[in-house]
Symmetry: C2
Subunit: 403 residues, 2 copies
């Protein structure tokens, strides 16, 4: 059985995802699709709209056969680390190919760019350093440095978000000496960051979330998501009362900032260069998370990076806990599967390169402690009686199964 | 001008306090009364019902002339450390005498008991150790050990809460070689821990708080408190919406417990012997603070000690921050004064043994950082818009002045 891997957040699963999934399976001539999906907190440093279990269901009902959780230490990270984790999970479960969407749409460009940058690494590193000194963020410095290098080769445009992610996937495959074949599909219509609906059926997850939080019902998004997603979003709202968003965690973030010393905050992953003092000062004077973020934001620190830092403060993730764990995943956490996915797992599990965890209560807690902490913290976005349901699920929920 | 010192919490100020204050001034032949008062968190490990500013007003309106804040590191502590801090504050501001209520009522008994216990210290320490090994709490072990020592002298009964406190005051005076004269007044009617009203006008603060939380208005307590207290309690409720109680802090305590590792909790002051694991396990399974406490409670850990530990976790007070600061206070924080109190301060301030802080914004933050943290955390017991008022007050409020 040939499996194609996809790297996803499904926040929530929408028609664009369904389109990509279908195209990925066709392009890869795959028998099934394996998704590695962020769990409670996402790459842009935000809590997932609904629990990973609901997002797993959405995926299984729309063409994904196996959903694995991207461990916390990779999920809320810059593109390079995010890619390291995601690729290592897909490699360990034996995917034949990895298919990602990109603005470019041409896989050879990705491979040439990775090779070209490896060849000119020292020069590029120097350029990036110089650019960072001017006060810009790392992604911006990379893009500027890259543009400044003259080349006759056909290279990638690295100022597009999906090109950047794809570049890091291909680079991670090379680093990890993976036999996975990279494939890419040109993205249509909706850009990653779009806040407005783009066409009649395809919209970005960002615009869908915006509509959900604005309209407080999900009728306005029905044309952009499969019926199953729409029904599951309604069910979540009924069962837990709200969708998760940063404002629900604001009082806890603020509490943590105001009872901590700057020294203590500096132990948190990615807290550097005195940002801890800005965070404390802004927390004292802000009434909402948004107000807080606007006070903390600088040219150097992107909104996304700041949100990631806030997630690490919320989950109390220390530099020491992250160190040495950011190259490759060390386990496969199975969130759900279809009948076909189950068949694949049964056939191939003896060859998986990492232990497969089906139920947390049967696994050594230490190795997965960051995910457990993230789940505990995620539950604080709900009123306690609902949060407790999530807490219990984390330990007792068997993988979601869809025929 | 002769000043008598009193050591108080005024949670809230009631008729019993007014009686004691009057008697103290008479017994001491004093021109004024100086109160050293716990700030945000109290000796039994609870948040104060209303802010220290309101409690200061209550005191100044009923016969206290100067209110000083007992620093955090002494306020939420066992009797011995509490006494060290309180006595050192009264000594530093030049009090002539210290007058406390007790079940005994005979000051010579206190002095004899302190001397007797100094004389038999080694024997007593050994006895206490043996008793603790049987699994009882420290206060219980002390009381049992003490009872077991045969003596012909007239010694104190150390199983009464106010005798214990008084014993430690007298002991601290001796240790600190203070020239303060200890005085005691026999307590009448209401016992410290009483939950029910005792007489027609005198009731314990515990029973008054209970009535306030049960009836949700304060008509039922009017006969037990001065009119000024009653009015101020009403005003607090109007201005801030609630009285502070542990349940308001429960979600923050629970958050802190669930995003911390046991190792991290062991750094918190007074967290020892594996209690951190019990705390985390109970937090996972409890819906309220009360439920949590009932799960954690053991014969060894009294309710009070556990509550104190919870306060230290909430304020994130580390062992390292407390170490070396528990013998004597290092500043005098002035919360309020009457005209007479002001006169005393002006006349005598050149002889005070510690710096007098009138406004926090004019003082080096580092030396008073635990009080600042306690205030920040205390503000989380209110909705944020109200908590912010307290936060600002901490820095900008000049001492309360009453003519």
């Amino acid at each position: 059985m040939k499996a194609v891997g996809v790297i996803v957040e499904y926040n929530p699963f929408h028609n664009g995802h369904a389109y990509h999934l279908q195209a990925a399976k066709e392009t890869a001539h795959a028998d099934l699709a394996v998704a590695v999906m962020s769990g409670n907190f996402l790459q842009r440093g935000e809590p997932a709209l609904v629990s990973k279990w609901y997002r797993t269901k959405m995926a299984l009902l729309c063409g994904v056969d196996i959903v694995l959780e991207l461990p916390y230490q990779f999920a809320t990270q810059k593109a390079e680390t995010f890619a390291n984790g995601a690729v290592s999970v897909l490699d360990a479960i034996g995917c034949h190919s990895l298919c990602f969407g990109s603005e470019s749409g041409d896989i050879s460009t990705f491979q040439q760019t990775v090779d070209y940058m490896d060849l000119h690494k020292d020069y590029l590193d120097e350029k990036i350093k110089m650019n960072i000194k001017t006060g810009v963020s790392f992604p911006k410095a990379l893009s500027l440095s890259f543009q400044s290098m003259s080349s006759t080769e056909n290279l990638l445009s690295l100022d597009k978000p999906n090109n950047i992610l794809g570049f890091h996937y291909v680079k991670a495959l090379k680093r990890q000496k993976s036999s996975i074949v990279p494939l890419t599909i040109k993205r249509k219509n909706a850009n990653y960051h779009d806040e407005h609906f783009a066409t009649e059926t395809i919209a970005s997850a960002t615009s869908i979330r915006k509509a959900l939080f604005t309209s407080k019902d999900n009728d306005t998004i029905e044309q952009y998501v499969p019926d199953t997603t729409s029904a599951l979003l309604k069910e979540y709202l009924n069962e837990y009362g709200i969708f998760h968003e940063w404002e629900n965690y604001w009082s806890f973030l603020r509490f943590r900032l105001l009872h901590s010393s700057p020294e203590e905050l500096r132990e948190i992953y990615d807290v550097e260069e005195g940002i801890e003092n800005r965070l404390i000062a802004a927390a004292l004077e802000s009434s909402t998370f948004k107000e807080f973020m606007e006070k903390v934001k600088t040219k150097r620190y992107t909104w996304t990076r700041l949100q990631r830092i806030c997630v690490h403060i919320l989950t109390n993730t220390k530099k020491a806990e992250m160190s040495g764990t950011l190259e490759k995943a060390s386990y496969l956490r199975l969130l759900g599967m279809t009948k076909r996915g189950k068949e694949y797992l049964n056939k191939n599990k003896s060859q998986f390169k990492l232990p497969l965890i089906s139920k947390l209560s049967a696994y050594k807690e230490n190795d997965i402690s960051l995910d457990i902490k993230a789940s505990r913290v995620y539950s604080f976005g709900l009123a306690q009686q609902y949060g407790n349901i999530l807490l219990q699920q984390e330990f007792k929920q068997p993988p979601i199964f869809v025929q």
